[in-house]
């Protein structure tokens, strides 16, 4: 057997340990999206809820809203779900859903089970719209202003803290814009 091969495990572990170490120290705030301050890319998505109109990017114009990328298979989405529900129940802000690479049935199941905070949901089975939006994973949330422009992207679950400290102040500022 080759002499050096016994060093492979310890070398691989060293890489892993460094990764873990950085993982503990990383800043959980999002990496800015290149689309910030630009209009939402055009899309027309099949509605997930049967019998309603397709979801288009024009629907986002005219008010400050959130566009939430989620999927029924995404465990981190379950984590942020209660926050979204609370926002929807208090009518704080309209939330639009982009159901990413997901079976519509599975999605409806999930929402039936845990509640539906969304005004409208577009199903992005192919992942096409998500690519245009620069989505790399679920959950991600875009803050859209009245002109239909992306103003902020949050990566990862929206917890109460994230909402209170980051998104809510931004939304308040955007609401004040004309």
């Amino acid at each position: 057997m080759l002499r050096w091969i016994v060093f492979v495990p310890v070398a691989l572990f060293a890489i892993l340990a460094v990764t873990f170490g950085l993982g503990l120290r990383r800043d959980p705030s999002a990496i800015p999206s290149v689309l910030i301050d630009r209009p939402v890319p055009a899309f027309v998505l099949e509605p997930v809820k049967p019998g309603v109109a397709p979801f288009r990017q024009e629907d986002l114009k005219g008010k400050v809203s959130l566009l939430n990328v989620f999927a029924s298979w995404c465990s981190a989405c379950r984590y942020e779900h209660p926050t979204l529900m609370a926002l929807a129940e208090n009518n704080t802000i309209p939330i639009y859903g982009l159901d990413w690479k997901d079976e519509p049935r599975a999605c409806l199941d999930y929402l039936e089970r845990s509640g539906d905070p969304f005004v409208s949901i577009g199903g992005d089975m192919s992942g096409r719209a998500a690519i245009d939006l620069g989505v790399t994973g679920a959950p991600e949330t875009f803050v859209i202003d009245k002109a239909g422009q992306i103003r902020y992207k949050h990566v990862g679950p929206i917890t109460e803290d994230v909402w209170r400290d980051t998104i809510a102040p931004l939304v308040a500022r955007l609401e004040a814009e004309t």
Partner: protein, 662 residues
């Protein structure tokens, strides 16, 4: 006062562990019996004091002593007795105490039942076990003191997370910890072998019972967890590929590989270095699991007590243990030498294949679990890897394992006639093909995946019975002879058959519960009925009530199937202390399938949303798991009895026997 005794006992056990981690090593180096024997006494003493601390904490929970911070934030006077006890480990500090208790318990069993193990090996193993103990005891004493006082003490506690108030979950952590903390013995034996510069069949024979028992407990723990998820989370899933679940699956997979490769070392004295490496890696996976659950590097629905500060401490322990272990491995493994050779078509050959496949499976799960972290670090984004990934990677890789595992126990050691192989597995192949074709035809040729999986589970089940059939010469000898042989067969043979049979049953259950499941959601009012999966389901009444520490809404249904009537009453519970709601599904279970009923929120003034599932064969998932664990326990019992006979004479001159009195 009791709490102070507990804290003192913990500090004392840390001191003992410090001594135990050094003196026996010196003893083994100098060949000084007294120093080595100290390891045994210390292991038992360390366990005793941790057990005392554990009893003190339990006492605080039972008396609802809210002057302790952990009791105040995790217990409540109105909580039922069982959950007061379960509350001890339903939080970070208490669960760490359970962790070290089990660690020390495994050390103590080596001291007590391992008298036949050669002195130096035992001394070194116990010293390594104590080093792990030092790390985790220091973690508890310095950062996670379970006996921290609150002043002033609150009058009432905050209650245990309602999701955790369930008999399944109360017993889940102890078994899970018995499993993955139990793998510490694999680590200790492996490191001791590296220090000794020798790992041979004797070493493997002594290490295997501990590895096997840990594996069996982990199997039980994982099964209890999935059973809990099945009926408590209210939507009939039993495995979610969540990071925390994966954290327990990875040591299980590597432990499975280890159990098999250690068998090769024991019988054929080959694959020695590989087995030692697996021993280190298996426990490392347990440590990584502990790290993931408590550090918050990954998002999980199950993660509790997340705290980056603690994460740093556990990461340091992980680096010392795994990094140190693998470093020692790189230095010392070349001394362990090469084993004897074997041919590809032999039992060793099948076991090597098994090891390669299982390690690949582990790598898949590892990648799926940590991919989001890696992506995050190279500056992309936070993502979540879901079941679609595992359906595409894990399952196709598991199928070759299932195919190979029938050949293994039927093959001969070292060298085998490959022409004989098709003959030996003939009945399994025929049965599998027949059932697969029947399934395919019955579904009109549409259900090819199900047909394939039915074939595989038949292959596994018949294949495991063939192991027994071959050894008792069923059909080839008169039945009296077969019966005679069956009674005298080594337990190990039954163990293999049971463990492999369990996998077959598990596959059967999983395929039934996923591919053949039916589900329906309806809005139902009192008096309305719905036809579903051959049953008529009628909602009789909706009742409101109060439990000991919750309010509930119970819906009573009658289910009629073929003239047989039964009553099912799923509940929704609301726990005011935590403002949390839980679902208690009602499940009618039989060997053929489960009928699962859960209620959701009100649709309007008169109607409730009702979810119904039919999960054919689901119960075989857990029966399969139980049979597997039984196989593991049988094997560990089997090796133990083999150990005592031949080795006893070597030790007869040593100071082994009188010490049991202590």
């Amino acid at each position: 006062m009791v709490a102070e005794i507990g804290r003192f006992a913990l500090i004392l056990s840390l001191m003992i562990a410090l001594a135990q981690s050094s003196l026996p090593l010196i003893g083994a180096y100098r060949n000084d019996r007294r120093y080595m024997a100290f390891g045994d006494t210390a292991a038992i003493a360390q366990f005793t004091f941790i057990a005392l601390a554990f009893v003190c904490l339990t006492d605080a929970f039972l008396r609802s002593d809210f002057s302790l911070a952990v009791v105040a934030s995790n217990s409540h006077t109105a909580k039922p007795l069982l959950y007061k006890i379960a509350g001890v480990w339903g939080n970070h500090e208490g669960s760490m105490l359970l962790w070290v208790l089990i660690l020390a318990a495994f050390g103590a069993t080596i001291a007590i039942f391992g008298r036949v193990i050669p002195e130096t090996l035992r001394a070194r193993t116990l010293a390594i076990q104590a080093m792990i103990g030092v790390g985790f005891l220091a973690f508890i004493v310095f950062t996670s003191n379970p006996f921290a006082r609150l002043d002033p003490a609150p009058l009432q506690g905050a209650g245990l997370n309602p999701l955790l108030q369930d008999p399944g979950l109360a017993s889940h952590p102890p078994f899970l910890y018995l499993g993955y903390v139990g793998f510490s013995t694999a680590f200790s034996f492996a490191i001791a072998a590296l220090i000794e510069g020798r790992a041979d069949s004797v070493w493997a024979r002594f290490a295997r019972p501990w590895i096997l028992s840990a594996w069996s407990f982990l199997t039980i723990g994982i099964m209890l967890g999935s059973l809990w998820a099945y009926y408590e989370l209210g939507w009939g899933g039993f495995w979610f590929w969540d990071p925390v679940e994966n954290a327990s699956l990875m040591p299980w997979l590597l432990g499975t590989a280890l159990v098999h490769s250690a068998l090769v070392v024991e019988r054929r004295h080959t694959l020695v270095k590989w087995t030692v490496l697996l021993g280190i890696l298996t426990f490392s996976m347990s440590l990584i699991g502990t790290f993931v659950v408590r550090s918050g590097v990954l998002t999980s629905v199950h993660a509790f007590a997340v705290d980056p500060e603690r994460g740093v401490f556990i990461l340091a322990l992980l680096v010392i243990a795994t990094g140190g272990g693998l470093g020692l491995y790189a230095w010392r493994a070349p001394r362990l030498g090469e084993g004897s050779g074997f041919e590809v078509f032999s039992r060793e050959g099948t076991l090597v294949l098994n090891n390669m496949l299982i390690v690949t499976l582990t790598a898949t799960v590892f990648l799926g679990t940590f991919y989001p972290l890696f992506i995050d670090l190279i500056g992309k984004d936070k993502i979540s890897v879901g079941p679609p990934f595992y359906a595409l990677t894990f399952i196709p890789l598991a199928i070759p394992v299932f195919i190979a595992m029938v050949f293994g126990p039927l093959a001969r050691w070292r060298k085998d006639e490959k022409a004989q192989w098709p003959v030996r597995v003939g009945p399994a192949l025929a049965g599998a093909a027949l059932l697969a074709v029947v399934t395919a035809v019955a579904s009109g040729g549409k259900d090819i995946v199900a047909a394939l999986l039915v074939g595989i589970s038949a292959w596994l089940i018949i294949g495991s019975l063939l192991v027994l059939g071959r050894r008792i010469r069923a059909g080839a000898a008169p039945w009296q002879t077969s019966l005679q042989l069956a009674l005298t067969l080594p337990r190990g043979v039954y163990a293999v058959a049971a463990a492999h049979l369990g996998i077959g049953l598990l596959v059967l259950g999983v395929l039934g519960a996923t591919l053949w499941k039916e589900e329906k959601v309806s809005a139902m009012g009192v008096g309305e009925s719905v036809v579903f999966a051959g049953r008529t389901v009628k909602l009789l009444s909706i009742e409101q009530g109060e439990g000991p520490n919750y309010q509930m809404q119970r819906a009573v249904f009658t289910v009629t199937q073929g003239g047989r009537l039964s009553t099912l009453a799923p509940e929704r519970r609301f726990y005011p202390d935590r403002e949390m709601e839980t679902t208690e599904a009602a499940i009618e279970s039989s060997l053929l399938g489960n009928f699962y009923l859960a209620t959701g929120s009100e649709v309007n003034d008169t109607q409730l949303s009702v979810r119904m599932y039919s999960h054919p064969l689901a119960i075989w998932i857990w029966i399969g798991g139980a049979v597997m664990a039984l196989g593991g326990l049988l094997a560990c019992w089997g090796t133990r009895t083999q150990v005592t006979a031949p080795v006893a004479k070597d030790v007869a001159t040593g100071p082994a026997s009188p010490a049991t009195a202590g």
